[in-house]
């Protein structure tokens, strides 16, 4: 019974917040996290071993990938972490590592730049990782209904599309809850 004052380590789970560069990933992490979004760095030379599109990067030893993340304490025994995936295409090799053990993902979509999130949708579809699409209406504007965005992204009917404002805590919370509802529904079916 040594060290009885040390609290027991909580169980931890994570959800990824994905999408292209500048779609509002860090903004969403920040709006729901109980801590200021933290930033940690992974050095490319270690993380990227064996990845072909990094050819030539060996020289740049100082190059690092920044990861922004936040934390939500669910209860005394369970903590949820949110990780914003590095948006730039050349850092996508990191997504494989990040995706291991994730409950699921939110793919943020920016209607002004529809191309920016295709690749993220593709990534999670291919790997069978459950995801929801959050349409981040910049300045809270939603010029297109959710169904138009489903068509534009060629999403299957079972992927929820939620209109949101990444700056707003309640709205970001709703996107995460939509993901949990999806996960619960599919767990209940199996």
């Amino acid at each position: 019974m040594a060290g009885s004052e040390t609290p027991a380590a909580p169980d931890t789970v994570k959800i990824l917040i994905a999408g292209g560069f500048g779609v509002g990933k860090t903004t969403m992490v920040g709006s729901v996290s109980e801590i200021m979004p933290l930033r940690t760095e992974e050095s490319l030379t270690v993380a990227g071993l064996g990845v072909d599109d990094l050819a030539g990067i060996e020289q740049k030893r100082a190059t690092t990938v920044a990861l922004d993340f936040g934390r939500i304490t669910i209860n005394d025994h369970l903590v949820l972490y949110l990780f914003g995936t590095p948006g730039q295409q050349r850092f996508w090799f990191m997504w494989n590592d990040l995706a291991v053990g994730a409950l699921g993902a939110v793919v943020l979509f920016d209607v002004r730049r529809p191309d920016s999130s295709f690749a993220a949708v593709d990534f999670f579809e291919r790997r069978g990782i459950p995801f929801v699409v959050g349409v981040n209406g910049f300045d809270g504007k939603h010029p297109y209904p959710a169904e138009d965005i489903r068509d534009a992204l060629a999403l299957p009917a079972d992927v929820p599309v939620v209109l949101c404002d990444a700056r707003d805590r309640e709205s970001s919370k709703d996107v995460l809850i939509a993901l949990l509802d999806l996960l619960i529904a599919s767990a209940a079916r199996s």
Partner: protein, 109 residues
């Protein structure tokens, strides 16, 4: 007390034992035969007096995750920290009870 119980009985911890959301906690009091921690190890031990995820530790220390993990391997081997792996998640086995707890927690935010 078997210090390496958390690494599956192996005596030599490896980088694979530490994910971004593995929680590490300083062993208090430290084992009697433990080597005296180096200054940077002592910094880690001070930070994880309470359980802390590897990613948080790296961010607070302003060091790359890979560097922190190497130091954590040494600390785990010396019996100075314990490591708790994340909740196991796979697309096949989904834990309804866990998901419900996460959902309820989000609802309460």
């Amino acid at each position: 007390m078997r210090p390496f119980a958390l690494t599956g009985g192996r005596t030599r911890p490896s980088r694979a034992d530490f994910t971004l959301i593995t929680t590490v906690t300083a062993v208090d009091p430290p084992p009697e035969r433990a080597p005296r921690p180096q200054p940077e190890q002592a910094r880690i031990l001070r930070r994880c007096v309470r359980p802390l995820a590897v990613a948080e530790l790296a961010a607070l220390l302003d060091l790359p995750v890979s560097v922190v993990v190497i130091m954590l391997c040494d600390l785990l081997e010396a019996g100075l920290i314990t490591a708790r792996p994340p909740h196991p998640v796979s697309t096949r086995t989904t834990d309804l009870d866990l998901l419900q707890k996460v959902r309820d927690g989000l609802g309460r935010l």
